[in-house]
């Protein structure tokens, strides 16, 4: 899989960033690359990259995550190790950014280094079945807020439109027009359309750049 050295996943709250980031990191690793994944979420203390710690570590992926993630306190702290991603450019890195502009503020402190190296992609994860990104206009609004908060620009779009367990192949197909419109309005390509692996066979050949997702399980 062709990939820049650093891949950032940002987007609206609950759009599926963490799930996609974990799957993306596993895919990079399966290609034999040295990979680190960093959890930069300072908004949501519950659904975290750390929930997949076992799977990631077993795959040989370096997990950078706050010791407070998925614990009994809500401390929006960033681990110091995140700097190892921007300082060490021999390793591929996936960064999971917190939702909305509030989550993207945390990315801002690494923006200068990332821009200087200029070997990154920043993906906007979109889901038209989320009530606050139901149409192109509201999606563009969220994108602009995120870009302003982290001082970085998106380079591509990931269409993750789904309504959870009830998602049908048709729901995904129905979202393609919306994703195209977001793409046209921003001039950004749709790099991936991500679907629950159960829908993959159904949609294979019908959607470009389709990527199956194995859904993360929440650990208690």
């Amino acid at each position: 899989m062709e990939s820049k050295r650093v891949t950032l996943f940002a987007g609206h709250y609950g759009s599926g960033k963490t799930n996609i980031a974990v799957n993306y990191a596993l895919k990079l690793r399966a290609d034999g690359k040295p990979v680190a994944i960093a959890d930069l979420d300072i908004v949501n203390p519950y659904f975290r990259t750390k929930d997949s710690e076992k799977e990631l570590t077993e795959a040989g992926i370096r997990l950078i995550s706050s010791q407070y993630a998925s614990s009994n306190v809500d401390l929006p702290a960033l681990p110091q190790d995140v700097y190892s991603i921007v300082d060490n450019n021999t390793e591929y890195a996936v960064m999971d950014i917190g939702g909305d502009d509030r989550g993207a503020y945390a990315l801002g402190r690494y923006a200068d280094s990332l821009k200087k190296e200029n070997n990154y992609e920043m993906f906007m994860v979109i889901n038209m079945y989320r009530p606050l990104t139901r149409d192109v206009e509201s999606t563009l609004e969220v994108m602009a807020e995120i870009e302003a908060a982290c001082s970085m620009k998106f380079t591509a779009i990931v269409n993750n439109s789904n309504i959870g367990e009830e998602t049908t192949a048709q729901d995904v197909l129905d979202s393609l027009g919306y994703a195209d419109e977001v793409s046209k309005a921003t001039g950004l390509p749709i790099r991936l359309t991500t679907v629950d692996e159960k829908l993959y066979n159904n949609l294979y050949g019908k959607v470009e750049n389709l990527m199956p997702l194995r859904l993360q399980e929440k650990i208690n």
Binding site: Y46, N72, V73, D100, Y129, R130, G164, E166, D174
Partner: protein, 355 residues
């Protein structure tokens, strides 16, 4: 295209409140309910409503009293420690007979506790929490869809009886994402002749107050209020019965634990154990009658709770201690597993109970 959207429980509460005509929200952030406030902050300016992050929970609930006095629909939300802070204001709302919706997305306690889910504010919400003789209507959703539909219901009941309705959720319900339909149907409008809307020199002043100088008057007011509560206990009880027709063991659980219990019950049924569930949807008014009727058919009850055993007291009262009631619980932010509930069902089925 699906008409449903994918929402967090907290977001569903916020959007449903707006759909129900609530254009005034006052809150203060606390995990795990912050998404209610965050959602309101985004949506309210777009519909010309009011979102205000108060300087504290105490301040927020007093703002609620202000808007409620004008007859407008109003809501606040918090999580356990924050609801404790709101308790004084909730008592004043009760004393003033004002309608409002208060949401509690519970977390572990007591004290600061932790941010993981809990059901240990059952006493606080159903027995008072604040001072004085009063009740709140308390609705306990068990899905994101119910987070939406019961919020609409909460506004309706608050207006109908001029009192506080609470949504008693927990961290899991607030954080989980599920498909939800936001079609809330027709919203009933209630006349509020008592509201402070300005006399325009056309009527006597309305007064909203909870202070009574004469104890005789305060006594009458309390008696009147309890007549109203009696009518609510008669008319507004909501519950779900699950596989109760031939059940010999009756599980009682609300909210997230009812979902865990359902999985365990299905498993037990597959092994031939006759077990069912009564899920209170209103935890006040409590579904006493259906439980008492079940006590004549079942040999034992099991309360599945994320508390040290709070609802279990209401179950024992409702069934007048006719049958033994066992507790299956986890606390501190831990959720009982279906395996734990199943083990309890099997244990009670084999060794417990009495016909």
């Amino acid at each position: 295209m699906s008409e449903k959207v994918l929402m967090k429980g907290n977001e569903a509460i916020a959007e449903a409140a707006i759909q129900a005509g609530c254009h005034h929200y006052f809150g203060y952030p606390i995990t795990p309910q912050t998404e209610v406030a965050a959602y309101m902050a985004k949506r309210m300016p777009k519909i010309g409503g009011t979102f205000l992050q108060a300087e504290s929970e105490v301040s927020a609930i007093n703002m609620v009293i202000g808007v409620a006095s004008t007859g407008k629909r109003v809501m606040t939300s918090s999580s356990s420690p924050g609801v404790s802070l709101k308790a004084e204001g909730i008592s004043y709302l009760a004393g003033c007979d004002l309608p409002a919706v208060v949401v509690n997305v519970q977390r572990g306690g007591p004290g600061l506790g932790g941010i993981q889910p809990s059901q240990s504010d059952y006493f606080q919400s159903t027995k008072g929490g604040g001072h004085g003789d009063y009740r709140n209507i308390v609705l306990a959703p068990s899905s994101v869809q119910e987070m939406a539909s019961l919020t609409v219901k909460a506004f309706d009941l608050a207006d109908k009886y001029s009192m506080v309705s609470m949504i008693l959720a927990d961290g899991t319900m607030g954080q989980m994402m599920e498909p939800v339909s936001l079609d809330v149907g027709e919203v009933t409008k209630y006349e509020k002749p008592w509201a402070l809307t300005g006399t325009k020199c056309e009527r006597e002043h309305n007064i909203v107050n909870s202070l009574y100088l004469k104890p005789e008057e305060l006594e009458i007011k309390n008696f009147e209020r309890y007549e109203k509560y009696k009518a609510i206990e008669e008319n507004e009880v909501m519950y779900e019965e699950y596989l109760m027709d031939d059940a010999e063991v009756c599980v009682v659980a609300f909210g997230i634990t009812s979902r865990v219990a359902k999985n365990a019950i299905n498993e037990a049924r597959a092994n031939g154990v006759k077990v069912g569930m009564i899920r209170p949807i209103t935890v006040w008014p409590f579904p006493k009658k259906v439980l008492e009727a079940a006590a004549d058919k079942c040999k034992a009850f099991i309360c599945v709770e994320m508390s040290m055993g709070q609802m279990i007291e209401d179950v024992e009262l409702a069934i007048r201690c006719k049958k033994p009631v066992y507790l299956c619980n986890r606390v501190g932010g831990m959720i009982p597993t279906p395996e734990e509930v199943l083990a309890k069902i099997n244990e009670v089925n084999e060794n417990g109970g009495a016909f």
